[in-house]
Symmetry: C3
């Protein structure tokens, strides 16, 4: 009988043990699956960002007369150059290892910033010079990312910039504008950038692709549970800037301008970057509205004056779309993000500005050594016509 | 020895307990992760719907001569207005709380219905009047949704309309057509809507974007295990309507018409909405074929007659693409959905029709107070040309 | 006291049992959820592939002068015909059952291969003849898939072709070229294919859509844990072929050619197909570069010679983009994939080539019975103009 009792107990205990073991076993395969699935969900966002880079930026930049095909070619080349370049630099072993998709997304962020910089000097360099631009830009971008975002040298602290208002948008815009200093000829100042009437719709297409996928850009590396709030915030900011852009453009110009709408409507996405995971929904909407107003004023009023003052051409107006709204977004974080390290935020912003301007000036100089265009805005000189 | 036995037992029991506890603990974090991941999967579909709203509807409506840029601008504004407006109304606390992404998707459904309504009066109102349209439309849409889908007043019962054949497509189309009554001048009746030959391809682009992402529209809020069957059904319905449209257009007109193909190919998606999660695959294909035939007959034969009869212009032919196929889809549910409450289905459809027409007539009247266009179809009067 | 002890034991054991049971229960619903969620993740990739089929292939083929609208219509019809046709054939019960989304993706693969074949004879058949092409192509495609990929007749062995370099790209291209033999008139040989200058940007749009979503094509049916490595490989191969295409085009022609860039940039995606889940990142980049160079040489130098030699026109140059890079990709697997069955790989490739050529020759003959175009490249004869 005692044996019986013992064996019963042994049996029940071993059944339980088996159950538990099976659970743990099943669990482990689940946990494994779940972590893979989370990475695949990141991949979905990586694809959205890739659509923004190629189709979004590419077609938004098509508007320059006689330069549309070059803009598309340049976009193709800049993306194809910067992704492997970024991944190679980050893969040199100096830095902590991350998931492959996270690496890819970080590389896409670098490519986005590079395309913003290219927008400032679009139409004034030869296609192969974009390759030089990419080779110079990415190392500086990585350096800034290391200092400001990763705080690799431990003197900045934690900066709030989830969606890259500062390190992607402001950095890219300022780099591009600084590079334009050496790449703007007197002739460029005399002959205005002529946009191509038939390409309006392509620009809007590019703009819409950017608009639609922007939430995936901001939420790309956000923890899974914070994604819903973040993406709704980004959409609300974009709605705000789109409405504000239309009204501001109507008030300033008398008529709404399709170029304003294609561009400044996106300013909400730029500005919400730093606070997309912290802002409340109404805050997101307000940030978007303000960014839209600022950006439209930039395109409609300031651009001409700024270009004359600084003696540069900013072809795509990146200072109005990415520069000022990016800095505005970085500063808004001070009011919106709880427990923000204000010193870190301001230091990070300042370092980004200084580094972007210095690196841009230097890079512009180097690129200009590879030739300056004399004739203006015609890509026939560089692109082969089959017909 | 007894102590030994007891301690052994205690040990084994506590190990088991620990294992179980760990399991539960791990499980909870998993369950948490899984529910977040399900919401992120919903978000993927929300992004697809957003692509349909801006790029799909936007470019499908580009075809009106001298009005393409206005159509794109109007699309931008209507989406940007309706999303926050819908979310504000639903967020007033009267209604049950839902996930943020579910709220976003419901708001997108409202925006889709609004864009359909706008398609009926496209080209005959000023851009700012679209804002008035949006402000009037969304509250009526929410009211209809409350009555018919949520059965808030408990007199309809459960209506089958997963993909919105009734509450999105039919409601939007009827609202738009009713609004057109007050917004169609005699001159509009004399001068036909001229489409722009060079924009054919843009329309097809818009149509393809709608086609590709339509399954995400129908399956947006479907439970995860029902998604595969639902999305395959939607694709089959679209395949059916595309093939049927080509053949019907060829038979009726002698030549296939690209405008028929760009529009009526989508009728399968409209009609399958009410039954997308219940129909079998062959049923889905048949529903799509029938919808494609009906819709093509509408575009090729009925549109002219109906416009003369009702003395209205339906610019985009929304009655052919969304109105009739939507009602057809709602009725097909009676034959296809098992255990359907037929009274509820018919009541829901009837309420939707009546509410849409009344609200549309009223809204059209109000919008016409803000001005009627005298000159026809040229957006230069409203859009600033930088060149 | 003994009772007490027993009851204590019973209690603790039953608590444990309950915990375990609950775990298992919860687990089962989780496991259920997880398997559904994995299928929904596949669905995301299925949508990406659908965007490639309609928007990508459709707009890439728009370039033929006076034939753009027909190309788009043909794309619509070929996709709408092949998806249900493939699913019907596979659903006849001869074959093992798979998930609905997996079936859908396999059908999409068939549609992709069909579109590639259509690219070779684009502009030389009437629109309804594309339906004949589809009806003939899909059964042959399924047969080849059965023999080579599923090894249904047990005489090939395991072939490495995850992303379809062999069974999708090479098969489709060779089928199309063989079909062109019966469909190329003397007149076609005299009058060159004229591309439409204003549609350059549409082609680049199609190309970019293909580029962006290509990783989802290759990783569509890859196990979840292998997806990150696979998709990064595909992007790196595309980056490689894009850079190589630009440089090769520049070197050969003196100026970069936008048609080369729109097409040959994708050769990396074609070539990496067979090895996308096995190659290392540097290998992927190299495979892409080589494919880009080969493909550009094909477009810039070989196409004219090959067409004269074989007395056929390959309208879209599918032999340069899909044929040669596809075969190259299939062969590269021998060097890259560990433990590859080399005999199987070569047998599979050989069967694919032979079957594609024989089936293509036969199908071209049959299609030509339905009429041959006499006038060249103008879709007005077949498409109705509303204006």
């Amino acid at each position: 009988m005692k044996n019986n009792k013992i064996s019963t107990r042994l049996l029940s205990v071993s059944i339980l043990f088996l159950c538990s073991a099976m659970n743990i076993f099943a669990q482990e395969s689940d946990v494994h699956n779940i972590s893979s699935m989370l990475e695949v969900q990141q991949y979905e966002r990586a694809i959205h960002i890739m659509a923004m880079l190629l189709i979004g930026f590419g077609f938004l930049m098509v508007f320059v007369k006689k330069y549309g095909r070059s803009a598309l070619t340049a976009t193709f080349l800049l993306v194809s150059l910067s992704l492997p370049l970024y991944m190679s630099i980050k893969g040199l072993g100096v830095f902590e290892s991350k998931g492959e998709i996270e690496q890819l997304i970080l590389a896409e962020f670098g490519a986005a910033s590079l395309l913003i910089a290219a927008g400032a000097i679009l139409g004034r360099i030869k296609i192969y010079q974009y390759l030089v631009l990419g080779l110079l830009f990415i190392p500086f971008y990585v350096l800034n990312e290391l200092i400001v975002l990763d705080d690799y040298f431990h003197f900045v602290g934690k900066v709030a910039d989830t969606g890259g208002s500062i390190v992607i948008h402001a950095f890219g815009a300022l780099f591009g504008i600084a590079a334009a200093v050496s790449l703007t000829s007197k002739k460029d100042m005399e002959v205005p950038v002529v946009s191509d009437a038939t390409t309006d719709k392509y620009s809007v297409l590019g703009s819409m692709v950017l608009w639609v996928f922007w939430p995936s850009f901001c939420a790309a590396l956000v923890p899974v549970e914070a994604i819903p709030h973040t993406v709704v915030n980004v959409f609300l900011a974009l709605c705000g800037s789109t409405l504000a852009t239309y009204l501001t453009s109507l008030i300033i110009r008398g008529k709404a301008c399709i170029a304003d709408i294609a561009n400044a409507s996106l300013a909400g996405g730029v500005a919400i970057g730093a606070t997309c995971d912290f802002a409340s929904h109404p805050q997101a909407m307000i940030i978007g509205c303000v960014a839209g107003i600022i950006s439209t004023i930039g395109f409609a009023i300031l651009q001409d004056k700024q270009q004359k003052f600084h003696k540069i051409i900013d072809t795509c107006g990146v200072s109005n779309l990415h520069g000022i709204p990016g800095i505005f977004g970085g500063l808004v974080a001070i009011a919106v993000v709880p427990d923000l390290n204000i010193t870190a935020q301001l230091t990070g912003l300042l370092i980004t500005i200084v580094l972007a301007v210095v690196a841009g000036l230097l890079s512009g100089k180097i690129i200009s050594l590879f030739g300056k265009t004399k004739e203006i805005y015609n890509d026939c000189s560089e692109l082969y016509d089959a017909d």
